[in-house]
Subunit: 137 residues, 4 copies
């Protein structure tokens, strides 16, 4: 079972000349559900930035494109699993259409001080989530 998921309707803005979702836009979809997942465990990007002067930064992103998403598709974006050290976290994510994965990603991220750009410890909500990485992909 996914840690978080959200529905994503494909609109004109997401498509390109080839009639399918532009390859960079799947990263937007992956980021939307990460944001919802963070919100669910009590982390809001804007508050983190304004109150603690930290931001999440993606350090690595490995994406597999299996099938093309199309205009009007209703997709599900998920966070499948999560693993972290004190300063870095790694997520397995998927985009599904009718239950079938059409795009998968492994996304690593860290937290940095927004002024100095120096890595800082992950927020406690993330460190307490040290679940074993179940690679469901």
């Amino acid at each position: 079972m996914a840690l978080a998921q959200c529905s994503i309707r494909v609109y004109y803005e997401d498509t390109d000349l080839a009639g399918v979702v532009y390859y960079a836009n799947y990263l937007k979809f992956f980021e939307r559900v990460r944001t919802e997942w963070l919100r669910e465990i009590g982390l809001e990007n804007l508050k983190l930035l304004q109150e603690e002067k930290v931001v999440f930064v993606v350090t690595e992103c490995n994406v597999k494109y299996l099938q093309a998403a199309k205009m009007d598709d209703m997709l599900i974006a998920t966070v499948e699993s999560y693993q972290s050290s004190k300063v870095r976290a790694s997520l397995e994510q998927r985009i599904l259409r009718n239950g079938t994965p059409i795009c998968t990603a492994t996304v690593s991220f860290a937290c940095i001080d927004v002024v100095t750009a120096i890595p800082v410890r992950l927020p406690i909500q993330l460190r307490s989530k040290q679940l074993p990485l179940v690679n469901a992909l």
Copy 2:
């Protein structure tokens, strides 16, 4: 003669399902040449934000789409003319292909304090540019 202009190549990222440039993306093109124009008269967005805590905000934008730009097109984006009061400026802009305007815009903008969101006077470089508005469209 335009106050500023820059070349814009159309890439996959700019197109949509209909095979042409997505209508919101022309606003990116207009903003690129505005940025270059501001740079030429000594105004850099990042410095303004970091040193003076002010940002430019578009308050109104009227766009006419005359012809569709296509993948691989080489376009010219321009700032045609400029008019300002102490707190608000208005630009006439164009996108041209082979010398023919394919999209035109009137863009009004102001300057606000990034913390309070209160409008502030335009930078002196813009106030000194009170040229008559030659509507070249």
Copy 3:
């Protein structure tokens, strides 16, 4: 009462350096709710393109930016009213936050043959909707 509306969560992808939604991205929000409205009256962009070889093209777009939308905001995008001739339609649209309009737009569009780029009659579903334009803005 709006003809159509949909909820829009603001994500990282929508924001810019100034910490607010980038001005071109409101046009994406306006287009999302137009797509949902078209779907409700029986018009799907993809089917129109594939089966009838026609696409909707925006011919003019006048946008007023009243307040800035921010990261994590939950917005409502609406189609407020609609007016058409045989070949052109005009919509009044809004983006609201907590019931307050923060961005409004008048959007005109036409239908063109995707091969010849020649304007064609609007689909019958749109021509039958010749409601008086109630400018609710």
Copy 4:
């Protein structure tokens, strides 16, 4: 020496709330220089689509984010090296700032028939480029 390179100025549209280039937008930069590289070896996306009904599709994309690109940065995007089989190609790409790589990617792509979505042979121009993969990253 890179197989292809192009200059990329960072504009407002590329940045996000954190004040840096949004992570999905580096994929746009990588795609711009791939397009220029394809053009140099005689392949135009639009012609391929219209005349041969084939499109390039990215099948995998592995991105490392080393440093953040900022507003007003002047970057260089490159195609460093290239390797292919009959149906699949793999590129090493970089984004550099002042000669220093700030983002690197390995991008695999294939060619598909735009109607059937079935993979087809890569164009002859790409098959004749079977250079050894020099991983310069």
